[in-house]
């Protein structure tokens, strides 16, 4: 007897194709978002606040309520939505430039207040949409169009670790860093996202899932070499794992 074991999420429009570059993990992240929303049966009460950057391309094919915030302000917009419509499950979808550079203030303040929102944070260590400028998360030595000799600590400072930074605050309930480079890690990412959404449903407060991803186009690598760089260099700077989990009254 035939049994359906896998299907495309219904929250991605069937009539559009992805605008993401080959090898970009935003596609996977979007798919997982759709699947998690279906798992939790919150299709009719979910809303996403996009940051500005490649993530915003997803507005063209995700079917549920969405809005775009000014660059960096997604957490503030999402908190405004949540305060005035508590029954809505609202999450932000932001890149590293949006969340960790221009939006640093809004991110830290939302985490510090313990706003009951979920944050999906895609960290690829570079500005993708604008064409490869240095991000707060760019690795030491990594070339960017605005750091043509590579990032130098004495000139540019060091890569920022957003999960660890937010871990210095009291309020956040859940911070985890994951990736989508292997099937096992995709499953972990899916679980982490589901937990971040569930925490909001349960009224527990601020959750963030950081997904360390590739940007073959702006890193200047083939999709396979980009994966190697991700695993050998990015994971060294941004080790995967649970940074904080107070969900069950833990740390």
């Amino acid at each position: 007897m035939e049994q359906l074991v896998y299907k495309r999420t219904s929250l991605i429009r069937p009539d559009t194709s992805s605008g993401f570059c080959p090898g970009c993990m935003h596609s996977t992240v979007c798919k997982l978002i759709g699947e998690v929303i279906e798992d939790l049966h919150i299709e009719d009460k979910v809303a996403v606040v996009f940051g500005v950057g490649c993530n915003g391309l997803a507005m063209n094919y995700l079917t549920f309520d969405n809005t775009t915030s000014p660059h960096g302000r997604a957490c503030a917009v999402a908190n405004g939505v949540k305060k005035s419509s508590p029954e809505t499950i609202v999450f932000t979808y932001q890149g590293d430039g949006d969340l960790g550079s221009i939006g640093l203030g809004e991110t830290v303040a939302a985490a510090n207040r313990g706003d009951n929102i979920s944050v999906i944070f895609v960290n690829n260590g570079i500005y993708g949409m604008t064409g490869g400028q240095m991000a707060p998360t760019t690795l030491i030595g990594m070339k960017a169009t605005t750091a043509p000799q590579g990032r130098k600590a004495e000139l540019h400072g060091y890569p920022m670790h957003m999960c660890e930074l937010l871990d210095s605050l009291t309020a956040p309930v859940y911070l985890e860093r994951v990736s989508c480079n292997t099937a096992a890690n995709v499953i972990k990412t899916r679980k982490a996202m589901k937990k971040a959404f569930q925490n909001q449903i349960d009224g527990k407060g601020f959750s963030m899932v950081e997904i360390v991803t590739t940007c073959p186009t702006n890193w200047g690598y083939s999709t396979l070499d980009a994966l190697t760089f991700l695993e050998e260099e990015m994971f060294k700077e941004y080790p995967l794992g649970v940074i904080r989990d107070k969900t069950e009254g833990g740390k």
């Binding site: 009719d44 009460k45 549920f64 405004g80």
Partner: protein, 356 residues
């Protein structure tokens, strides 16, 4: 309803709550601090939310988020704080979201002075953010008018799905006056106002509900949105509010808005006693501007217009010049940088023009 004695900032906040405002976010800045302070204690009483934003930038974006749920939402600030909100206001105008904000203006540019001024006129009326959007801008001249305009602003914002600005100043924010408060909307009315926006609100919809998309995403490109917005702006002639005071026989017409107009009115009563034929045109909406009131003056009779503003250089004078088109001289009497307009200087300037 009884008359009560209230400070301008608090009266504005109470009027907003009575109009159904259920969300306020703001950041401390003088001279408007009583608005967030009042909201912090008042909004929880009516089931609303107050958030002290970490900055003006965050505050306007909290309002942008809240207002997208259909909830009547407001922020306030002063001058340099309003500048920080420009990007968010532009996004609100782009997304066609109803929201109200108040500028209790102070001196400028930069940090300027904490005292009252009218130095944000061009920013308020012509370019409150990037991209060439427009807003209805209401300019009260006493606390009662600030109350009535704030109350009405929420209706206008909902009607047009556009931000509305109350352009006040530090005098109106901090002065205490007897006022009549408008009727408070009931919880049922407040809920109905929110529910009426559900078809476009960012609250979550079933896939088959076909949410009316808000910007971005309503159109295939930006230009169609600009065209639709321009059509809205063209409907605002009906919204022009102006006070024409003793202009029928006037030889000198004072052009002034807000607190300067109130001081000018006081000067006119003295001038009239001495036989000087001086009148006043007071824009109550500075956007849309009452150009017709100036254009329709009898320039056979009017010797000159006296533009009275708390801004050096003058700013509203550009709109007055546009309407008058050189048909009579336009002179100025000005203060700036937190110095309040003096009645005596208006008397002196008006007399000189009458005796010309």
């Amino acid at each position: 309803m009884a008359r009560i004695f209230m400070k301008g900032n608090e009266a504005i906040a109470e009027a907003a709550v009575r109009a159904g405002c259920r969300f306020y976010a703001g950041y401390p800045i003088t001279p408007q601090n009583e608005i967030p302070e009042y909201m912090a204690r008042r909004l929880p009483e009516v089931g609303g939310n107050f958030v002290q934003g970490e900055s003006e930038v965050a505050s306007i974006n909290l309002v942008y988020g809240s207002a997208q749920t259909g909830t009547r939402s407001m922020t306030s600030s002063s001058s340099c704080g309003i500048s920080l909100m420009s990007e968010g206001i532009s996004f609100i105008a782009s997304a066609r979201i109803p929201a109200v904000y108040v500028n209790v203006a102070r001196g400028g540019p930069g940090i300027g002075a904490i005292q009252p001024a009218q130095q944000d006129y061009l920013q308020a009326t012509k370019a409150s953010g990037n991209g060439g959007f427009r807003m209805i801008v209401l300019a009260p001249y006493d606390v009662q008018e600030a109350v009535d305009m704030t109350y009405a602003a929420f209706d206008i914002a909902d009607r047009d799905r556009n931000p509305v600005l109350i352009l006040a100043d530090g005098v109106l924010g901090t002065i205490m006056e007897p006022i009549m408060l408008p009727e408070e909307k009931s919880p049922e009315e407040v809920k109905a106002l929110k529910d009426a926006k559900r078809n476009w609100a960012l609250v979550g919809h079933r896939p088959d509900e076909k949410r009316a998309m808000i910007e971005p995403g309503r159109f295939a490109g930006q230009e169609p949105a600009n065209i639709e917005n321009a059509k809205l702006y063209e409907t605002w002639d009906k919204d022009i509010q102006v006070e024409e005071y003793l202009i029928d026989d006037a030889e000198v017409v004072i052009a002034a808005y807000g607190i300067s107009a109130r001081i000018a009115k006081s000067a006119i009563s003295l001038l009239r006693k001495d036989g000087y034929k001086v009148g006043l045109i007071r824009p109550k909406t500075v956007s849309p501007f009452p150009y017709a009131s100036f254009a329709n003056l009898d320039f056979g009779k009017v010797k000159a217009i006296l533009d009275v503003e708390m801004s050096i250089p003058a700013q509203m004078i550009w709109d007055v010049q546009y309407a008058v088109r050189g048909r009579c001289p336009i002179e100025t009497t000005l203060r700036s940088g937190g110095e309040i307009m003096g009645r005596d200087q208006i008397l002196k300037a008006a007399k000189e023009l009458c005796e010309r």
